[in-house]
Structure formats: C-alpha cells, structure tokens
C-alpha cells in the first residue's frame, strides 16, 4: 500500500556537527538516511522504528529508515528528514524562474519496503 | 608614477593659484604637478581645450551598507544603464546607484578624481572601505555618522566633555573616517525607540536622554573644533525636507558661533513656510540661507541641487525616508544600526510638473546664483538624493547658460517658480567660478591642500575638456583625465585601470578613553570591542591628512 504525505527537508544540530567532520563520514550518511514519521501513520502502514520505507516523487525515489514522532511534534501526514544525498533524489530541478527548487513540503508517495529475513 | 607629462596650449583654470583662463603649460612629474618636465616627457596638445584640476565631490553617497541596499533594491534601475567592460576595465551597472566599478569610472569619465562618501555608520566602516577599495581611479574617503551615537550622547549628557572629545576622536580614527557627520541629531532615538517619532525642533527632548539637538550639535562643533580636523563637522540638519525648515537651518547655523561648520545639501533645508491655500507646498527660503552663508565666513555649504528624473533617497534620516515613502511608490528600506544610526532608502523620481519638486529645483539654483562666495557654497546634488552625479554637466550648464536655464524654467511648474526667486536671477557662472565650486572650493573646505589646484607639488589630478559653447556637452566627456600623473583617459577612452587612495584622518586621543568605551561594548554591542577597529588592510593605498595640532607638531 502507498500513501501520499508531505516531506519537509530541514536541518538538525546533529547534522550540523556531523557536517564539520565531513559529509562522507558514516555518521553523516546515517543521519541523512532517516525519515521522521508520525507514529500513528507508521502503525497504520505497519512500520516500526528502523523499518525501511520508500519515498517516491515524479523525479526519483529514495529508500530510508523511519523513526517515529508523536502527533504533538509531527502531525499525521508530515515527514521530516535532514537534507542530504537522499533528499536530492526527490527534488525536481524546476525552480519556476526563481532559482530555488522546492525543497520543503514536497508531496511524496510513501511505501513500506519489506525486509528480507526479518519476517515482518 | 614615474612618467612625465607636459600639457601645452591649454587654457588653464586654477583658481586656487589665481590662474583664470591663461594659456600656459602644466607639467607633471612623479604623480605631482612640477615646475618643469624633462624634454622627453609625453606632450599633450590642449589647444582649444580647458585644463582644470580634477573634480572634487564633497558630498555623495557611493559606498557602504546603505548604498549597497539601495543597489540591491533596484534591479530595474540597473538594467537599462549598463556599463560594459573593456580590455582593461571592469564591467558594472549604472542607474542612480551604480556598482562600485561603474561609480569610479563614471566619476573619472566626468573629470572627477576625488569623492567623499558622506554617511557611513561606524559599524559599517569596514564594509564602506571594502567598497571604496573596489571603486577605481578616484581618491575617496567617508564621513562617519556620530550624531546619534548613544555612548557619545551619554558622555555629553553627563557633561564629560573631555571624554566626549576623546571618544569622538577615537571613533573617527578607528573607522578611518575623514570627518564627523551629524544627521538629524536626536531623530534616531525617537524613530527606533518611540514608535517612529521624530525630532521637530532644536529644543525637543531626545527620548530618554537629558539632551536636545541644540545641545548635541553645539557639543560636536565644540569638540571637532578642538580636534582641529581638516574638515569640520558636516551637518545634515533637523527637519530636512520639511516645509518651513529654513528657521531650523538658520538656528543651527547660529550654533556655530564663528566656528567652522559645514552644512550639507542646504537646498533640502531651505524651504520657507507653506504658500497660499496649501498646508504643505513650501516657498523658497534660499535667499535667507544664502544671505546667512554670505555674511558668515565660518559657514560653508554644498548645495544638494535637485535634478529632474530618477533618483534614490538614501539617508541616515530614517523618518524622512519613511515620509517620502508615500510619494516614492512601492519600495521602502529601513535599516537600524545598534547604538549608532538609522537609515532609510526610497527610490524616487523628481518631476518638473510637481510643485514641490520644481520648487526644490529652483531653490538649488537660487542658492548657487545668490551665493557671493563660491568657495563656501559648493557644488553637489547629494548624489543620488537630489539626482545622480552623471547630471553634473547639465547642472553646470544651468549655472553657466542663462538662455538654457530660461528654456528649462518654462517647462516646470509655474506656480512653484512664481514663489521662488529664480525669475529675478540672471547671473551666469564663469568657467573660473565653475572651477571653484566643483574643485578648488570643495578641496579647500576639505583641507585637501594638494587637491583642487595645479600649483607645484599638488597631486597631478588633471582634467582636460574640449571647449564647447554647450557646457553640458563640454563637461560630459573630458578628452583627457590624468590621475596621480597617469594618463587614465586619452581621447575619451580608458587606457589603463587605476586604484586611488583612501583619504582619512587619525586624530590623537587619550588612550584611556578605551576604558570608558569598552564596557559599553560588552553591554550593548553584538561585536567585541577588540574586533571593532578597522585595521590597515582595509586601506591598502591611503593618505592620512593631518589635524591642525598634528600639522603644527610636524608629525611624520
């Protein structure tokens, strides 16, 4: 099953500190491969913390691990992740003559990715 | 610098040395005017041409934080007026607020070799210096905004006058400024701290301070006089732009009490009370102001003439810009600087059919034509506030050519003209007088002894114009421009690029004053005291003009 949700790209302090060490360091790559999702949405989709999930837009897709957030912090239907190599896969190159590609509040299709061997 | 030049057959206008149109040689050696030049020196035949010292602009806005905001806010003003690069010069854009490179080249292209940026916040000094470094050809300096400085106000309020004077000297020196500038003294505190209010008279209380503009202005004149600065306090008076402000201006001029004081762009402060049924349309106050200046040799002024067309209001007088916003259209910029200043920017167009604009135009011309001492009522448009510096040739023609002026007068708002005194004035400026108001006069008011003149030892900044009955055409494009002895423009074309000098002062102060200033920084600034002073890297080519005590002490 897939659902359409709204993806917000942003920054976090962990990303900021990891950035100083280098964007090719494992910590940075790990940080930029996690998507935060509303816990109720995750339950509905049969996802738990660290489950793999595929995000897809008309230009590309990315497979990420998800992390639950309570509704008071992240409403249903909203996803958050820090900018990085994964978000670039989902962004369209068109800027509507502004120079700025849409980097926040992107509509994405969300699809759980079954993991081999875990049986879940 | 090593090259030598001999300019022959030109009619020389060098009023500082009493030379009024004589045909004589001008020799250049090692960047200076010399008594003679070696036989192999390059000769420039200036037959049919006029030779003058390079122009000196005593008041313009060409570099620094507010100028850059004004550039950024008007892409539409650059697009139609581009400045292409050549093999040797950088490209840029023009409009009323040109890019730095275009500014330098265009000043040089009019025969100007020195210009003074007239309003920089101390905190913006580093930025202004970076821009001035990228402003080619001309020598340049800036006036530092001190007239709304919170710490200086505190010292003045507490009567700590010696510390006040030392702190003023400190501020001028550490920012590498040329002169202290006051803008609408007291206005910023009301603007920023009291819901966008403003000062309306010299005796208003300045917000929480036990001070009035009268007390502040007098305090600065006193301190600057004691410091013996080459250029005195440079004042943008209160109530600028307001109908009836001539009374405030005269009151402010009286505060000088015989001490040297410069009044910036007085045209904007020379409006009489409202005329007829109108509550706001000003009459001309030019006659009163001109008369005061004529009879008070301690007072000097630049006119700040208004030229019709596109301009940009950019000023430390934030309430003024806010008021003009209602006429200016859609864009308004305001920028507050902590403890130091306000700032306002509004793109603006002066229209000849509009009563107020026509009156401003007429008042500017009246001030010129009523002035009896061209050495003390000098040329400016307060670029770009009254109009761009590229309009200078037209303004020169308006002063030199009565018929041209009459024709122009016929096209402007006649009601305004009726209430000005312009119709009664038939004076025409001579070339010698033009040389005074655009060169010799401003240089003398600035205390730049080696500029604005062609005597032996003077800086070899020379402009050669082809004579033409149309003075606008003549002054629009000099045939040759020489800067520091280098032939920059030859046959109207740039031959080489050139970097001019920063001109600044470094008044002495009691170093103990830093113990007074530093704690204030800890509490109320967001930059550390140790990081505030601008170091010498920002002035790779510079010249320190000595204060009177320094000159007397013959310091190196």
């Amino acid at each position: 099953m897939t659902e359409v949700m709204t993806l917000i790209g942003g920054r976090s302090s962990k990303q900021g500190t990891a950035l100083c060490a280098g964007k090719l360091a494992p910590e940075y790559i790990e940080l930029t491969s996690v998507v935060e999702m509303n816990v109720e949405d995750m339950a509905r989709l049969g996802l738990s913390n660290n489950s793999k999930v595929r995000l897809r837009t008309p230009v590309g897709e990315a497979v990420l691990r998800c992390k639950g957030r309570e509704t008071k912090d992240l409403p249903s239907g909203i996803l958050f992740m820090v900018y990085g190599p994964m978000t670039t896969q989902l962004m369209a190159g068109d800027t509507a003559a502004s120079g700025m590609p849409i980097s926040k509040n992107i509509d994405v299709e969300v699809e759980p990715v079954p993991e081999a061997g875990t049986g879940t | 610098m090593g090259s030598s030049l001999r300019i022959v057959n030109g009619r020389v206008y060098d009023p500082a040395n009493g030379v009024d149109g004589e045909v004589r040689d001008v020799c250049i050696r090692d960047g200076k005017i010399a008594a003679d030049a070696p036989p192999d020196a390059k000769r420039i035949d200036a037959a049919g041409m006029v030779v003058m010292p390079g122009g000196v602009d005593i008041h313009c806005h060409i570099a620094g934080p507010k100028v850059n905001l004004a550039r950024k806010v008007q892409p539409e003003d650059h697009r139609y007026d581009v400045h292409p690069r050549t093999r040797v010069t950088r490209s840029g854009t023009g409009g009323s607020v040109p890019s730095t490179f275009a500014t330098g080249y265009r000043y040089a292209g009019l025969g100007y070799t020195t210009a003074m940026e007239a309003a920089v916040t101390p905190l913006g000094a580093r930025h202004a210096l970076e821009e001035l470094h990228d402003t080619p050809v001309i020598d340049k300096g800036f006036y530092v905004l001190v007239g709304n400085n919170v710490l200086l106000y505190r010292l003045l309020q507490e009567g700590r006058l010696e510390e006040f004077r030392n702190a003023l000297a400190w501020w001028i020196k550490v920012t590498k400024a040329y002169a202290p500038k006051l803008v609408n003294p007291g206005g910023d505190e009301l603007w920023k701290g009291q819901r966008n209010a403003n000062i309306t008279s010299l005796d208003d209380k300045i917000g929480p301070f036990e001070l009035t503009p009268r007390k502040v202005i007098a305090g600065f004149i006193e301190a600057a006089t004691a410091l013996g600065l080459p250029h005195p306090v440079h004042i943008h008076c209160n109530n600028l732009g307001h109908t009836g402000n001539v009374a405030t201006t005269l009151e402010t001029m009286r505060l000088a009490e015989g001490r040297r004081t410069h009044f910036a762009h007085v045209q904007f402060n020379s409006y009489g009370p409202a005329a007829g049924k109108s509550q706001t349309n000003p009459t001309s106050g030019a006659r009163e102001i001109a008369e005061f200046v004529n009879t008070h040799p301690n007072i000097s002024a630049d006119v700040g003439a208004v030229m019709f067309g596109r301009s940009t209001i950019m000023t430390g007088d934030a309430p003024l810009a806010y008021m003009l916003r209602q006429f200016g259209g859609t864009k308004w910029v305001n920028a507050d600087t902590e403890n130091e200043s306000g700032c306002g920017i509004v793109p603006f167009t002066y229209q000849d059919r509009v009563y107020t604009n026509a009156m401003q135009w007429a008042v500017g011309l009246e001030l010129f034509l009523l002035s009896q001492d061209p050495w003390r009522m000098v040329f400016s448009t307060d670029h770009p506030n009254g109009g761009s510096f590229v309009t200078y040739p037209r303004l020169i023609r308006l002063l030199m050519d009565r018929e041209f002026r009459k024709a122009r007068m016929a096209e402007v708002n006649q009601k305004a003209l009726d209430r000005s005194g312009l119709r009664d004035l038939s004076r025409e400026y001579s070339l010698n007088e033009i040389a005074i108001v655009t060169r010799a006069g401003p240089a003398r008011l600035l205390g730049l002894t080696r500029k604005g003149q062609l005597g032996v030892g003077a800086d070899a900044d020379v402009t050669i114009y082809e004579e033409d009955p149309d003075k606008e055409k003549m002054f629009s494009a000099p045939r040759y421009v020489i800067k520091d002895g280098e032939l920059i423009i030859e046959d109207h074309e740039f031959r080489v690029d050139h970097e001019g000098r920063l001109l600044h002062v470094a008044p002495d102060f009691d170093p103990g004053i830093e113990q007074v200033i530093e704690p204030f920084f800890e509490d109320f600034y967001t930059i550390r005291f140790a990081n505030y002073a601008v170091d010498d890297r920002y002035a790779p080519h510079h010249e320190i003009i000595p204060t009177a005590p320094q000159a007397a002490g013959a310091r190196p």
Binding site: S13, V59, M91, G99 | R85, V88, V333, T337, I527
Partner: protein
Amino acid sequence: MSENLKFVPHATCTFCGCVCDDMDLTVDMDEKRITKAENACVLGKAWFREHGIEQRPYALIGGREATTAEGVEEAAQILARARFPLIYGLSDTTCEAQRVAVAIADMIGGTVDTTTSVCHGPSGIAFETVGESTASLGEIKNRADMVVFWGGNPAEAHPRLFSRYAVTPKGMYIPNGRKDRTVVLVDVRRTMSTPVADIFLRVKPRSDFEVLWALRALVKGRRVDPSIERRTGVSLAVLEDLVARMKSCRYGAFLFGMGLTMTRGRHFNSGALLALTTDLNEFTHWVAKPVRGHGNVTGADNVVSWQTGFPFGVNFSRGYPRFNPGEFTTVDLLARGETDAILILASDPAANFPKAAIEHLKRIPVISLDPKTTLTSQLARVAFTTATYGINVGGTVYRMDDVAITLRPAFESPYPSDEEILSAIRDRVRALLGGNRVPAVAPAVAAAS
C-alpha cells in the same frame, strides 16, 4: 595534547550566519588543532574541533595527485576554453576570495551565482519588490520586546540567535532579558526551538502566505473570514490576538528562515512577510531579518551586489552584468544542461541539488575548492585542497545583518587560501585571454538591444 598551546581571543566562528566574534580559542600548535572554543555553541564547537589539518593532496586532476600550480593551469585552461562557464558557491569563504571570484566571471564573460539562490534567494527577490525594514542584531538585543521566528529552527541551526542576539540577552531597553520579550514561533511542526516560545503557531504546510496575508489584512483593519482556520490551521482569534500584540509592542522583529523560501510561494512568502513588516510601521517600530545559513553568504550577497548591482545569478556574457533568477541561477543552468564548465568555490552542490542538476555536474569539467573531500570534489576534474577560512585564513566575513567582521585565524595551514588559488587562476586566465574578454557585439549595440 602538547604543551605548545596558543590562546586566540576574540576569534570568529564562520559556521553559520550568526558569525559570533566572541570565540576564545585554545590551539594545540603541535597537533594543529583547536582544543577548546569558549562561548561556542554545539555547532561552533564541532566546527572548530573538526578543522585540523588533514593529509590530502594539494590538488587532484582527474583523480591524480598534482601540485597547486598544476591545478591552476588546468583550471585556467578549462575556464578560458569554456563558452558558458559558471562560478558557483562563494558563501563559505572570505570576501577577499569572493571579489576575485566575481572578477574571474567578469573577465571571462561567465556567470556568477552563490548559494543564496538556493537559500534566501527568494527573499532577495522579495526585497527587490517591496524593500525591507531591518536592523543590526544589536538593535534586536537592545530593543526588541517582541520577536517572531517564522519558518526556522534556530535551536538546531543557529543556537546563539537565541542566546546571544534575540531571546535571552539583556539589552539597553530590555533590562531583564527573556522576561521583557514576547517570543512567537511559527512553524509547520514542533522542533527543538518550540519550547522557547510564549506563543506557538502551527500552520499547515504550504499555507504561510495565507497566514501572512491574513495578518496584513487584520493589521489594516480589514475583515478576515473565520474559514482561515480551515485553510491554515490557525484560528482567527489567534491571529487577532497576535496582531493586537504586534501593534502594541515597542520594537518588534521578525526572524525568518527557509520555511518560507523553500516551499510553495517562495518569494511571495518572503514578500508577504516584508510587506507585513512595512505595514506594522504605521503603528510601531518593526524590523525583519532573513536568518542566513552559511558563514559568509551575506558577504557573497554584498560583494556580488557592489560589483555588479545584483545580488546573485549574474551573467556577464554580453560584456556587462545581467540578472535573471531562473535564467542565470545555478540549479536552472545545470538542470537544463547549459553550463559547460563550473568552478565551485567552497560549496557542495552534489550533496544538495536536485537530481537533474547533479547529473549535469557529472557531464562537465568541474573545478572545486574545498578544505574537505566532498561529493562535489569527488566528481571534480580539478579538486583543490584549501585552508579553512576563519581557522587558517584571515579576511572579512559579513554577519547575517550585514555587519562585516575581520577574522582572526588560529593557526597556519600548509594549504593555500581560496583567494590565493583564485588570484592565480585569474592571472593565468588573463594571460591566456590577453585581458578581459570583450564580446564581439559592440557594447553600445548590445546595450541598446
């Protein structure tokens, strides 16, 4: 840790646009490492800690180790040959280097664009349409009794915006610091920043413009339909309360982030906020300030503006500067496949640009200057290793409020500065071209067309 320690007071952190100049650094001179950064936030501490000297080649040409001089020659050849070259980045280096970067673009008739175009570029466009009432950060510290953060998360991205400039510090007319201010936060989600706020408005994604426009209407005394809540997630009563507070404060400040510029509405969102700020000045004093990310992105805006008249996305191919976002901005030039060579100065577009733009980067010669290996440097034809500005290199940076600050480098790097490499490239390109490249079309004709 060695005994050979050096103390560098009053140093400046260039990690983010706060550009805090109160860093007191302790440097281990034997290990060439900053061991302590007093006053630094968590980001600043990482910035100083992680910028030691790494053993990297001075330059890589096609992956092969090379000297800086060889890299300069190769880079100059690429730029002199290119027909539509682009110089991009600029926001994490000194103004001195930025000035040379623009000079090269001017000389070769290329394009210069900065990370502003994918940051607050839309706010720059908004500025050009409505202007801006703004202030230096010290005015906010000294005077602001109401502060509204919109579309940003300073607690994680600009921590000292709260602690040094806008929320907790005591100021001249804010004697009690935090207690004297009303703090409002507007965002689409709760973040680490939310707890700082007295009032939190959670707006629905993609509805910032509607909220701002409703506020404008209310400020001007117009009626707003209660259905605004359905559209935006914020009730009319909350908006009315906010407007009442805004009109009655003494000195208000908006600090807004990329929550406005990177989403639907882009420059319209920033423009609405700037227009609201202007409107509020009918009643009391209000200022607004885009919160800037990179350490010297504000310097890049200033340098490009004073040299060309335009803030970013500037093309010189006709012999003079032209500005057109969407035409001369980097994402567009790359995604459309127009650029045929690119010099990337202190930026990593391969890590954050849209996929189509990154694909084009892989097709053209890339010249990169960076202290670290990045995704961009990995795909570069010429990759220079440079010294880090603010840590090894002096010069000038501009804080987000346009205040210029002089850097105090802590220790020397064996690698050259951006300015040194760029100056060498500029001189070599000039020699190859014999001066500035002047277009065949006469400038007067070009200007008239």
